[in-house]
Subunit: 120 residues, 2 copies
């Protein structure tokens, strides 16, 4: 039941934009809770890297006096990775194409993360 | 001479927007090359966290098939931290206020990073 609701939110998120290639909900210790990943993408790897980035991002925000972490964005040649806190226990990770409309993705992912937080 | 040119680029960058609170050029091993930081902000801490974030960001981009890293953005309650590669040996780190116009900051920082890359 909860799984279905999470999958439904991720499916809707991936559907909001053709620029979103993958999305996942991950526990803060890096374990996969729900995912919509393209074939061949390794769940464990997405989980581990998301948890590591969020953890270091949180520490960086703290050390540099920026308050509580909301999101970490990685921009690379072949696309974006956006990690967003969904409450205290989970992270929503989204991968998007290089030419993605970032403003729209920020908005859609924030909304999805709020919904996921209420379900977890 | 080179120090003056770097300081001049950072000074101009901080001047482009009232939302930019601090900027620094850091070697990829975390040592400060040039900085315009507000009083009380610790250089070593900015250097260490920037280098750590860029390093993990690069690995994440690689592991998740996103190609070569360009930027890492941290969004937190009390503001942003934006880290941008300036060539292979240095990072430009900028801190901005919570309500900063991100599009403009991305643009100005990318331009500054290109100039810094040519000087180093």
């Amino acid at each position: 039941m909860r799984d279905d609701m999470l999958s439904s939110i991720l499916s809707e998120l991936n559907g909001t934009s053709a620029d979103i290639e993958a999305s996942a909900v991950i526990s803060i210790d890096g374990l996969m809770i729900a995912s919509m990943l393209p074939q061949g993408m390794d769940e464990d790897r997405v989980g581990a890297m998301s948890a590591a980035m969020l953890s270091l991002g949180g520490r960086t925000a703290d050390e540099l006096g920026r308050g509580e972490l909301e999101q970490v964005l990685i921009k690379a040649d072949d696309g974006f990775v956006l990690m967003t806190n969904a409450g205290k226990d989970a992270v929503v990770t989204v991968m998007a194409k290089p030419k993605a409309k970032l403003g729209l993705i920020f908005l859609d992912v924030k909304r999805a993360a709020d919904n996921i937080e209420q379900i977890l």
